[in-house]
């Protein structure tokens, strides 16, 4: 039996989300990076299961936060505590991969056992989706500081960095 969660029932369509990478997996995904059809980055985070469902949280995050998480500058706990929208989605996925019981939840209302430890720094290898664009994987996995330095260098030689970012965003969605 899953925990009862305080939140608001909502309808939310996850069907057009595209998987970019499983950031943590063990015999299946546990933490995955997805992009919405609008190009927004989301984390899908497994929290609990029972005999019928697996429960996940989804939260919108910035690409820079994701990069900082991958490069161990931010913990998973910090990402979960501060989703971009101020709230998270909580939903159950059954054995036929139907999504149901979608709730809008505030981080403060999450049960304590849904929270990562404060020292939950990334110590895994991302597994890119087969069909994820290489550029997006590159954006995700290159350490944040190196990425910033690369952008600085590109800007100095007059490379249109913003165009590159748009291309990456586009590549992630289509």
């Amino acid at each position: 039996m899953m925990k009862k969660i305080k939140g608001f029932d909502i309808q939310f369509d996850f069907s057009r989300f595209r998987r970019i990478a499983d950031l943590i997996a063990f015999e299946g995904p546990l933490l995955s990076h997805y992009v919405s059809d609008k190009g927004d980055d989301y984390l899908f985070y497994w929290v609990e299961n029972d005999e019928h469902n697996n429960r996940w949280l989804a939260l919108r995050v910035s690409l820079s936060s994701l990069q900082k998480y991958i490069s161990k500058e931010l913990s998973l706990r910090q990402l979960i505590d501060s989703p971009n929208d101020g709230y998270l989605y909580c939903f159950d996925v059954d054995n036929d991969l139907n999504y149901h019981n979608v709730l809008l939840v505030q981080p403060a209302d999450l049960p304590i056992d849904y929270l990562p430890s404060t020292d939950s720094f990334y110590d895994f290898e991302p597994i890119p989706a087969d069909d994820a664009e290489e550029l997006m994987t590159y954006e995700l996995t290159i350490p944040f500081k190196e990425h910033s330095r690369l952008e600085e260098i590109l800007a100095k030689i007059g490379f249109p960095v913003l165009s590159l970012k748009k291309a990456v965003s586009h590549a992630a969605v289509f």
Partner: protein, 155 residues
């Protein structure tokens, strides 16, 4: 000569039809291996995620390429590697024991059991069982992985 079939050959064939490929596989040569398992006898051990219920998956495999890895059993080459990985998972997922098990189990993998992928730097490899293989008969639970004195850093 008849080829030995994998335990989940039909499912593997279905995924291959979707465009997935089996990774390069090797004979295990009787190596020792560690897996996570449930100490509660009511839970099924040594079952790949793709055939577990409920599946811990997010996507319809028909729409998105899945990996044949979901039909393999995750193993580690040493108990130290397995425990390190488990404790890292525990920091991120408090309820991880209900998903992958609460205990370490150890055994060895023979060439008659199946084939393995290459071992990665963290000691992990996938094991594809042959028909008739049942690790419940050869792997024994050796340690409770939730019984440690580390301070809970969730608060």
């Amino acid at each position: 000569m008849q080829m030995t079939k994998f335990k989940y050959q039909n499912e593997i064939d279905a995924l291959v039809a979707f465009g997935c490929q089996l990774p390069e596989l090797y004979a295990p040569n009787g190596i020792p291996a560690c897996r996570f398992a449930f100490s509660n006898s009511g839970r099924q051990n040594h079952v790949p995620q793709y055939v577990a219920s409920p599946k811990r998956m997010l996507l319809d495999i028909g729409k998105n390429k899945a990996s044949t890895s979901l039909l393999a059993l995750s193993c580690f080459d040493t108990a130290v590697h397995a425990e390190t990985f488990y404790q890292n998972l525990k920091k991120a997922f408090h309820n991880i024991s209900s998903a992958i098990g609460d205990s370490l189990s150890e055994g060895s993998l023979t060439d008659a059991d199946g084939k393995k992928t290459a071992t990665s730097a963290n000691g992990h490899f996938d094991f594809y069982e042959y028909e008739g293989c049942d690790l419940n008969k050869t792997f024994l639970i050796t340690k409770d992985l939730n019984n440690n004195d580390e301070e809970d850093k969730r608060i």
